[in-house]
Assembly symmetry: C2
Homo-oligomer: 415 residues x 2
């Protein structure tokens, strides 16, 4: 049995105890984890320093170093998120559907944990705790595979979580980290179908593509967001500028940020300069079509086909002037990753058409795409935004980390 297989078996074995754990004992584990993170702040920062030293040696960019860094404030923030999970409704055991059939059998569809969840993620060590505690609250066991850049931080965080889980009487193997940072262990995890029930990659488009293409285990795709705003001919221009500006510049590195702007030709002449003025305050680079350049001038970088397909995650936006709502929808169908899109309009007909015909997880009328988030939608914490259609679409909260089981009770019925 290989190292990764052993972790798989451990996770499976811990599963029945986790699945049967009461909400109270799971919450006790969460509280113990939050306390232990605060108590272990010094140790965590020390482990994190090793990662930061390696990062400097390997010439990691400043912004990546910043993502990797854990300080007192950030650890406190992580612990606070864990405590918020205590307050969340436990999904396990809730009944989705129940009925008594004519023959007297009682059919009850109840929520149960998914089982063993694999999470593959990149360098941000806060994901380690976020992901593990969400899985735990929903009664699952989790196998984490983080980026090698954060291995020392991840090892320490996992050690702390495991000890806390054990201290309340739950199996420490509910949370395991693959300490082997090679690609081989990732490949093995992606094929661990005898133990894993689902695999969730969290990270950039490259990671997600690699997992989707190579996994033999069911995968939930998260995260890639080439999000569009379409400014319709009837739009309130001030509102449009607010929504584009907020979507592009409030936090450009996240998946619900706006990457592409489509403007109806009848309003482009008036709207584009207003929007540009707002984006200029953040030095946003505009990559536009010819009609965009004709209106905004030389500052516009000519947009390539590739630009329209790119999730920039940066102060860059692609822009296209379109002839109609239909052309906008067609463009979105072609280039979107199915995450979030918005129409700014005062036309009821176009609003309804856009929401009906655009095939994305979240389709907005007159509001920022930045709201696609478990917290903003009212679900509490989330493990990511699913851009696929199976199982979960949009923000994935605790409920999406469960499955169902039918319980049927009779007194001897046969067919």
């Amino acid at each position: 049995m290989t190292y990764v297989e052993t972790l798989g078996l451990n996770a499976k074995n811990a599963g029945s105890q986790m699945g049967a754990a009461s909400p109270m004992i799971k919450n006790n584990a969460l509280k113990a984890i939050a306390d232990a993170l605060i108590a272990g702040t010094g140790d965590i920062i020390e482990a994190n320093k090793l990662d930061l030293e390696n990062a400097v040696k390997n010439g990691m960019s400043q912004s990546m170093q910043d993502r990797l860094r854990l300080d007192e404030g950030r650890i406190e923030g992580i612990a606070k998120s864990v405590l918020q999970l205590v307050e969340a409704q436990d999904p396990i055991g809730s009944v989705d559907y129940g009925t008594v059939r004519p023959n007297g059998i009682k059919v009850c569809k109840t929520r149960v944990p998914l089982g063993v969840i694999g999470i593959i993620f990149e360098s941000r060590p806060n994901v380690t705790v976020d992901a593990a505690t969400l899985c735990l609250k929903a009664g699952n066991t989790v196998i984490l595979k983080g980026g090698k850049e954060a291995i020392n931080s991840n090892k320490k965080l996992t050690e702390i979580m495991r000890a806390a889980i054990k201290s309340v009487g739950l199996p420490e193997d509910a949370v395991q980290l693959i300490e082997d940072t090679t690609r081989e262990s990732t490949n093995e995890l992606m094929k661990l179908s005898q133990y894993l029930d689902v695999l969730i990659p969290r990270g950039g488009a490259g990671l997600i593509k690699a997992v989707v293409e190579n996994a033999k285990v069911p995968v939930i795709e998260t995260g890639t967001g080439n999000c569009h705003v379409f400014v319709d001919s009837s739009a309130d221009i001030e509102m449009a500028a607010n929504i584009v500006d907020n979507g592009k510049t409030q936090r450009p590195s996240v998946c619900n940020a706006v990457e592409s702007l489509l403007v109806h030709k009848d309003i482009a002449q008036k709207a584009l300069p207003v929007i540009k003025e707002r984006l200029d305050k953040h030095n946003v680079e505009i990559r536009g079509c010819e009609r965009t350049a004709a209106i905004l001038g030389d500052c516009v970088v000519p947009a390539t086909e590739q630009d329209y397909a790119t999730e920039f995650l940066d102060y860059i936006i692609s822009v296209k002037v379109v002839d109609s709502a239909d052309e906008a929808i067609e463009h979105i169908r072609k280039y979107s990753t199915g995450h979030s899109e918005c129409i700014v309009t005062e036309s009821l007909i176009n609003a309804e058409k856009f929401q009906r015909e655009v095939d994305s997880a979240a389709v907005y009328v007159n509001a920022s795409t930045r709201f696609t988030d478990g917290g903003e939608f009212g679900f509490g914490a989330e493990i990511g935004i699913s851009t696929q259609k199976l199982h979960a679409r949009g923000p994935m909260g605790l409920n999406e980390l469960t499955t169902v089981k039918y319980l049927i009770n009779g007194n001897g019925q046969i067919r």
Copy 2:
């Protein structure tokens, strides 16, 4: 563009019209299909004859030939199923969740079609119509790949359905058949991720395994059922005999039939002879452990490890005497395919333990596993029984052929 890719593009293009189609027009299409099947009975039987002639030439078994055969009665049965779908509740547009957030945005989680569904199935031509019409009712488009043994029947059935769909003004490409019966076209379909939203294999364990291992598209596993009955020490022996007999012999070829019997040691001496007497009426072969043989005698074929893992789909049952409910649950964990399992007991504690700890789609107390079926659970028609945990588990009805879309309406909200 290859032949299969062209079908994929056609399906995708037909999707937006299908997704926006009203319940009434979809029902009109179903009625038109039912009428056309009846009107086309002669043509269908003629096409089916070609398949049957080839079957005889190729030495197909009598039971397989029977599955392939379409006669007037069967075609009428197929048409009747299509008409029953007209009565079923249309899932599209129903709202799973809706809320107004503190900032005033309205968040609405609505049901939308999955999109393009691929179905790979074996020789039974009735699946062609069942699967296509279920997908159609839920607003999806479907690409069918049937077995080569039924190609003439499938071509005729698809031709009839397409004409009927077109006659009501919906796109005929909502239903397409891959007429190329080679393995290559199946392989291509399994990798058609740019067009397919989900792939559902319907057939034997070999087909399902091949699809799960090779698909690059999300797959829903259906069908394999190594179902167990555990007769606990407190069981009513007459009830146990009824449930085992019904599960094993009422229809041995289906996935919810019983394949394996576990009997508590304290009741084995009394229960096994009673159960055997019932099974003898259908000449069921018993493959048992040593303790089973000690009780039932020489008629018991010694069970191998492989027998406990086999879905016989035949008049064969594996039997094991176990020391406890825990051992029964452990055995089921090891050998079950996660379909349906039953405990026969009068112990509340063991009933609850069994339902909590057995990790299968349907877990029964004192009722036959043969009830795992969309109709029996009250969902109407089903496209199969899912034995995986993602998206759908247990009987998959119309609702499981949909996904969700979040519609968010605001009046200029930003974050």
